[in-house]
Amino acid sequence: MSARVGVVLFPGSNCEHDAVEAVAALGGKAELVWHGDRALAGFDAVILPGGFAHGDYLRPGAIARFSPVMDAVRQFASDGGPVVGICNGFQVLTEAGLLPGALQKNAGLKFVCTTVELRVESIESALTGDAQVGQLLRVPINHFEGNYTCDGYTLDALRDQGRIVLRYVDNPNGSMDDIAGIANEGGNVVGLMPHPERAVEPLLGSVDGAVLLRSLLHAAA
């Protein structure tokens, strides 16, 4: 049985089809879920994709957090279901309080669109279970507000609990402690700014995102 992945479509999302295609290419089954839906019945994992949910008005993720589907996402996560927020999806998860901290404007005020090298820091998460600690992955980034920040107490907790799952090898946006992706305490909710769904075919320039999404499919099974 292949894992069923719900990919949430907010008004303004623009990476949802990439996520659906990537999951399918890796042997999973993905379906779009409208942000106005209130249930996630039958899904084994949830992806909040990249884009500009609700136009990024006020702050990225600030309005998406109140979309009806988010109550179901919160319930799904608290039941231990794997939830991954990619780029704008990461911003939504922090605004919703499912992950700590916030993503502020990139240092240098530059929108960054490039391929970066990531280092896997922990395999105790729904997104990195099949990877190896220290593994280097080439994955695209594409964001303006990806500069992760949190208070010192939170940063200590993330470090001590092994919840920093991915770091940038060469920090592109000023992110605190080179953080590219973090997990919640249970490891089942993960947010990251890079786009693994855009690195699953040689034609796309890298297949290094595949190990991350394959980890998600295994966590979902």
Binding site: L58, R59, A107, G108
Partner: protein, 86 residues
């Protein structure tokens, strides 16, 4: 019920990098303003609210700031209330 105009000024908290503010500040000497510092960029949100009294209006606007208008991780806010012209 009374009507109030609220001005919510959303600011980055101290210690949070403000790349917009520092970029503006760096550009000022080129325009001849070499005596300007501490440039900060925030947001101003204006709204109209009806409440029993000023304290009630302020409480609601501050709750709105906490829940929605600011992200307390990186932002704080200052609320200025004035009685709306009737």
């Amino acid at each position: 019920m009374s009507a109030f105009e609220a001005l919510v000024e959303v600011r980055l908290r101290p210690g949070i990098a403000d790349p917009q503010g520092s970029t503006i500040e760096r550009s000022l000497p080129a325009l001849g303003f070499d005596n300007v510092s501490e440039v900060k960029v925030g947001k101003a949100i204006r709204l109209h609210i009806e409440a029993d009294d000023e304290a009630g209006a302020r409480g609601q606007v501050e709750a709105l700031c906490q829940r929605f208008l600011t992200n307390p991780v990186i932002e704080d806010s200052v609320v200025t209330l004035t009685k709306a012209a009737s």
